[in-house]
Symmetry: C2
Subunit: 505 residues, 2 copies
């Protein structure tokens, strides 16, 4: 059943398209939770080597540290580059009293347990030498309660010079008292996370300068934590201007779970973390074996698997929602530090994992691998989804091979990165689309059903259909050319997908 073209994205960027960083379109991101990826003692300072870390392979706990650090990331750059990774997004690295480091204590310090500033500079310069990029996590809505300016308010109450930096409701403050609710604005009523008063021009300027400072230090962009909670008018517009003034190619990606139109008009972010894509893709890729409860960690209450038709409609809607240049710099993902891992969500069904990965790496926008996903690291929702990176003896080799192929394929074919997207076929659990760039036409065909299926494509459906080649996956291709009529019939095994090149130059 060919799908209509209604809702498909514009095929050529118009002159009013927002400027977004060229490099992001070609990037493959890798998200690292620094406490859990690699731990190295090289270049780290004896003073800050803790003797009370948890065992590397022990289960994650809310408050325990495994001691992963920046030298541990630097040591694995061969691995990452070998996999085809071109950019890292690190969850926060600033000094913070939390293993996830979202409780910022000082925006200008690299956490000592991570190796401090020296380790950071070494990592950043090594990345750049390799032509890789680094995006940091900017948590500018709230701070940790030990953050200096809040700490001063806590100690001095109404007399603090910094009382206007926060939104205090009543005195005295209850910041550490479980018998009282926090009486100041804080993130989801969590007293550990006081919110900035972004209406205070000093606070605003303070944050802008942090952004500028780290760009000046060489980072390639900011992932912005809960930006929808920062509602001061013009805040993110100014943020973009300040950031792009330092580096016009800096990438700004917001953590917006739902419709992000408000932030993706070109005046604020280059893209958002594409959770709607993740939810739709997972719900389409799974058949019925999906732990619905775990899906909530994706910010959704959905759990019903999607048919191909429903998936096509979702994708169509999603691609129609934002300008094309934004689509190309979306941060596409299947998992993050906030979600259960897909592998666990589907009870270790490798076929589903591979199928979803295929849809990720063939979608417009930068694909991101959440560290460990590529080797089938399991993980229930937070904190379990933050397990330490496993030794190779525990890798799921089939998943790893799949990821290697998909990353490689994406790098090989520009059409997968910047070619236009066109849905071709959607029926039951079969979905077919193409990515087309000039004469480079790639057809991606997926059967998410439990039974084998057949898809028939004609030259009325696929432009320039000719001499098909199987580039990825397993399927039987039946190609017939009779006069002006061309037909490609694909026999797709259950829970599988393929990439087919037609007239690939």
């Amino acid at each position: 059943v060919p799908v209509s073209n209604r809702g498909m994205p514009i095929e050529t960027p118009s002159s009013s398209e927002p400027d977004t960083p060229e490099w992001v379109r070609h990037a493959v991101f890798y998200q690292i939770f620094p406490d859990r990826f690699g731990r190295a003692n090289t270049d780290t300072d004896l003073v800050f080597q803790s003797s009370t870390l948890e065992a590397w392979d022990s289960p994650p706990t809310p408050t325990g540290y495994k001691g992963g650090n920046l030298p541990g990331i630097r040591e694995r750059l061969d691995y990452l580059q070998g996999l085809g990774i071109t950019a890292l997004y690190l969850t926060p690295v600033f000094q913070s009293p939390a293993n996830h480091r979202y409780h910022t204590h000082d925006y200008y310090q690299i956490d000592p347990l991570l190796g401090g500033r020296r380790a950071f500079d070494a990592l950043l310069s090594t990345l750049h030498e390799r032509g890789m990029r680094l995006v940091l996590d900017g948590v500018f809505n709230h701070v940790g309660r030990g953050f200096f300016f809040f700490n001063d308010v806590l100690e001095n109450g109404e007399k603090s010079p910094w009382v206007d930096w926060f939104r205090i409701k009543r005195w005295p403050l209850y910041a550490y008292d479980r018998n009282h609710r926090a009486n100041y604005a804080c993130w989801y009523d969590n007293p550990a996370l006081p919110q900035f008063n972004h209406n205070n021009p000093a606070v605003r300027e303070y944050i802008m300068r942090i952004a500028e400072y780290w760009l000046g230090a060489g980072i390639d962009g900011w992932r912005l934590d809960v930006p929808h909670h920062v509602t001061a008018p013009g805040f993110w517009q100014e943020f973009r201007q300040r950031v792009k003034s330092v580096n016009p190619e800096a990438y700004l990606v917001g953590e917006i779970f739902k419709d992000a139109s408000q932030w993706l008009d070109g005046s604020q972010f280059d893209g958002v973390m594409n959770y709607p894509f993740a939810v739709a893709t997972i719900l389409f890729a799974v058949d019925d074996r999906c732990r619905a409860k775990y899906l909530r960690s994706f910010g959704t209450h959905e759990h019903k698997p999607l048919s191909a038709e429903e998936y096509a409609a979702r994708i169509s809607h999603l691609l129609g929602r934002y300008p094309w240049n934004i689509q190309l710099s979306q941060y596409n993902l299947l998992n993050s530090h906030d979600t259960a891992r897909l592998y666990t969500l589907v009870d270790g069904d490798e076929d589903v994992v591979k199928l979803a990965a295929l849809l990720l790496f063939t979608f417009p926008g930068a694909p991101s691998i959440y560290y460990g996903d590529e080797v089938g690291l399991p993980g229930a929702p937070d904190p379990d989804c933050r397990r330490s990176f496993p030794p190779s003896s525990e890798w799921q080799e089939a998943i790893f091979a799949c990821y290697q192929q998909l990353v490689s394929l994406r790098h090989r074919y520009a059409a997968l990165r910047i070619g236009r997207y066109k849905a071709l076929w959607a029926q039951a659990k079969s979905y077919v689309f193409c990515r087309c760039l000039d004469h480079q036409n790639l057809i991606i065909a997926v059967n998410a059903g439990r039974e084998g299926t057949s898809v028939s494509l004609t030259d009325q459906i696929v432009e320039n259909l000719s001499s098909p080649t199987l580039l990825y996956g397993v399927a039987q291709l039946n190609w017939t050319e009779a006069g002006n009529s061309k037909r490609l019939v694909l026999e797709l095994p259950p829970k599988s997908g393929v990439v087919i090149g037609t007239d690939v130059s």
Copy 2:
């Protein structure tokens, strides 16, 4: 009544004398409480200009800030240098949530309200251009409870990587709960001030590096807060070695209120804050008008005024206690941020204030003026002794003139700085001593009594007694020279003192 020579200091340094910084012997210190000395908007950052400061001339409160800053000090350097000040000791300037800044939040940051690092560098370089020195306050026994490493323990409990940095007694920690006593080692049971575990080598190294860092940044020494509470073996010995390796002329002065022999053997400090001198001098200078209660802020329960004989014995004991090179680098004071001001202690009796100042500026060791003392700023014990520096319309001009003369005198006569000290006469409330350097003999004679008195000095008492000149103060000198017999009779008015030069070259 001439005093015996028993207990007098050795007259020439022996070869086993400790090395102490030459410059300190010639220094006149000025202690500044940075929140209260000067406030300037030049060079300060709009972001960190608070709108909730207390009025400059309002009474000090435990938690309020007046907004004094480092540019405010830099602006007044003409004043200080005009007065003859050669070195500043600043109470803490590191980022801290307290107006006195003894609750350290970050040892590597200059407090933003003080103007931050830029203002600090500007102050330091201007001081050095003027040939002036800067000594900072090193608070290395305890930290503020917002200090990163403690904050992490507070947030993560036993799982914190930094749990060994402190001495935890029980879990969970009570740091902000008034219904529980602090269950970790803290300074005088104050939960706001957790103590370091100095037995942890990492902590020790962490502190040593802070000391080295700021010396590397150019400071001229450290005043060390409550060093007797840091009891880890060898700690202060290593501290001295590390500091002197960066700058052999750096000054190390400990805050020891009582007998400091343990720290003044040459292996640790160059001197201590000389509170025993202050107490003896004040109790001798006062007659009966002294607010005994306020004297407790000097770390003493004494309050009975001293006779000249008692004062002579105290001074003799004090000078006999430490090596002569140490004596010359003692930090002598009458007041500090921890004491009631002498002016208030004696109910504004200017004569007593001037008399004590005379004894301060003629004593071996570096005299220190606690900001405002030179203009008669009043102050009951903490927090009242931390009033803002007053406008000139509120200065006690007679006290200011006295301080100006005494500083000038000390700079003019090397004997006052490095000459040997010899007590000559002690009776009732009259005390006479000399400072002698080569042929420069200065006699200091003081009458702390309420009646005029007469003192008779012969060449048996004063070596090389000849042609006396009144250099400071008011007295009638009767000089007789008959054959080999010389006699100087001084008629001293009540509550007054003089400096007399004999054979001054």
